[in-house]
Amino acid sequence: MPDKLVVAGNGMAGVACVEHILKCSPSFDITIFGDETHVNYNRIMLSMVLAGEKSAEEIMLNDIEWYRSNGIHAHLGVRVARIDCSARAVIDGEGRRTEYDKLILATGSSAFIPPIPGVDKQNVHVFRTLDDTRALLAKARKGLKAVVIGGGLLGLEAARGLQVRGCDVTVIHLMESLMERQLDSAGGEYLKRRIESLGIRVMLPRQTAAILGNGHVDGLRFANGEELEAELVVIAAGIKPNAALAREAGLKVNRGIIVNDYLETSDPNIFAVGECTEHRGQTFGLVAPLFDQARVLAATVTGNRGPVFSAPAPAAKLKIMGVDIFSAGSIDESEPGVEVIRYEDPSVGAYKKLLLKNNRLRGMILVGDIADEPVYMDWMRSGTDLAAMRRQLLCPPPPSDPGLEIAEMADSETICGCNGVRKGEIIEAIHKYGITTLGKLKERTKASTSCGSCAGLCERLLRAVAPDFQEETRTTLCSCFPFSYERLRDIVRGQQLKSVEEVLAVYGNRKGCEVCKPALSYMLDMLWCGNHDEDRSARFINDRVHANIQKDGTFSVVPRMRGGVTSPDELRRIADVADKYKIPMVKVTGSQRIDLLGVKKADLPGVWRDLGMNSGQAYTKGVRMVKTCVGTEFCRYGVQDSTNTGIELERRFENLFTPHKFKMGVVGCPRNCAEATVKDLGFVGQEGSWQVVVGGAAGKSVRKADLLITVETSEQALEAAELFFQYYRENGNYLERSYDFVERLGIEKIRKETVYAPAEEKRKLLDRLHRSKALSRDAWLERDRPANPTQFVQIEPMEKVLETQLV
């Protein structure tokens, strides 16, 4: 019979320790008790669940199958109530008795709740577990007045999560500055400014005297008598080790369960790991040292006693996207012999402070710019003598041997603190799976998939180890956002954000630029099928006035002429307009349409009215035209009715927007007179069938379109076109032409997800397209209903000005 091992606690430290034990012999008969009803999840990422960046499922670390396949008896939702040390048994909350040979206490910590009158009121929460997070999510809503008590790491993360959910958030902190244990007052001030720029109010220093309300909370009163309205309160004032179980069992307990360097408690059969422990007077709240503890304890428990635990220098990083904070080592500058080197630039919000003693780096605070953190950490860990580098400390040169840092790390060193992935495991995976990119590394090892702060280290490791390392191209949309377009699209969809300003305020730098604003405008229109808050100021001038700006500030006007077919009546009106508005040039375009060039902005509504035609969208990233040949209507060789099919195609897509301009062609026979095979979408008529082709180009690039599908009827061709069109709208990156899109995804994948997709998926794609189409309209209708009174008109001053006064 194997020895019985009981683990009280199903959190990250306890389960990490069990994972190590499973790798060693002898084997144990393992039972885990977990107070929470969930399997082991990544507690560090709860703030991301709160912010909607991850789902609860995505932060699961060990699924139920893991417990089953390792023969672990898991009692979830059952806590250990009592330990009978002399009989070596635990008694659980249901009164059951479980015997052990060895017992590991991994009971974690709980939120410290300060003794404030009123903490028991409804809508006063803590933020510690998945259930806490779910309770907050259930209450968070737009405009809810939320107050977070506590300006440390957890409090700020909770505040950001609630703010992303639309709550009106205030952070209250007892101290003069935020995160005062990790930052100095100047660093705290930089952090405060950054947090405030995200739209979170910060009140310092405030001591909460009472939580007010009749039953449920309606406000706070501070010690200075001031009051603040609050509908939701989150207390994030720190944690305290869960040591009561050990204390009642008679173990030696101070603030936490006292453990020695081998993680042994005062009882020879009982061990402890994680946030419930106290080691050499220190308790723990960050995850990295706890993974070290788990490893040491696994050795001790399995009879390989030897490795010892020594608490590393504390290092803290805030996991709020767009708020870069790093602090490590000793930041006490009052100590004799400590020199301080400081740099700050308020305009970019960057603050750096390095603390040196005897030319060696002892501690650092980085706010707003943490790019040099790996170099500094390396200096600090290795105790590098910096005498020769004193002039370059604030802008350290890249290491002369970039592989050295990796070579100096032991295989057992943790690379990814969030997921507990060690260097050795990563190297093993790189060789085993032939990993060459960071993306693949993340997929295989889970490293760098949580807070992402080790991405740089992972990349350097990959570069040093993988023979065919490939650098991934940076894909952030622009410097306003720390995300790629695709990631941002998921966030905007998940968060139900409906306006450009909202996206910028919550996830960007609140300013935006000429790159992201039009991209977001498109994204919102596409995601919400036109049912979003359109913001004209976020769009390029062409989309504000529905015409194409020319080099002299005038505009060009291209009316829609479906399939390139016009009429004497239309041509007469075009001629009259050209005369009436003295249009300098009338030109036939390459798209079988007519362009009126040199139109003044103020004349646009009149030109459109007199033309009596719809917008041809020649100015926008949207549906341009369908070029057609005369097909069976007139041509001796035509085998399909290309003209009418093209007109119908144009009708179905016109007025819609696309990631980039979208040009189409329909030809009635393979002679291809209207060049359908070099269009974003083309139909090529054959005897008895249509070929639907996609991703062609004859612009900056020339590319022959790929065959999507061959179908018999025009209606089938139109449906295939609709599927591809909507699929491109939804999955194309902004400014990605269809030919790049098709090459990026591959035509086979596109076929599988459009024309060969399950009927249900096809129906959904078509449904979203038709919803967008139903809300779209001819932009030139704004000739009579302008978006704002001065959309086209030049403003006349209200007073006369004497020109002689002007300089």
Binding site: F540, V801, V807
Partner: protein, 113 residues
């Protein structure tokens, strides 16, 4: 100061600009989320209409070739661009935007040098 009443605030939507011509002078007035700022309306690069540009913080991006200028100072946002724009004192009173058209000021008067 020599203030001229130009237009009602609602005629310039948030984060957009509007051109105003007075004789040979053309200015662009911007509404930077409730703050009104005025510059000359011609990009020093190729004369682009800055009033039609997208706003990024307190900068405007010329719609023709993407040059950035700070609306507060008229200065180009990138050092490689040599020329700057004149700015005009602007204020709001009783919902009306007023500009001192006589006090146009260039930070770098001899910028081209």
């Amino acid at each position: 100061m020599n203030w001229t009443k130009i237009t009602r605030v609602e005629n310039i939507p948030p984060r957009e600009g509007r051109p105003v011509r007075i004789g040979n002078l053309e200015i662009a007035i911007f509404n930077v989320n409730g703050r009104f700022l005025t510059i000359e309306n011609s990009c020093p690069h190729r004369g682009g209409p800055l009033c039609d540009g997208i706003i990024s913080g307190t900068a405007v991006v010329c719609p023709l070739h993407g040059r950035h200028f700070d609306l507060e100072t008229g200065m180009p946002m990138r050092v490689s661009e040599p020329a700057c724009l004149a700015t005009f004192p602007t204020r709001v009173e009783d919902g009306i935007v007023l500009v001192d058209l006589t006090a146009g000021h260039r930070v770098m008067e001899d910028a081209a040098a």
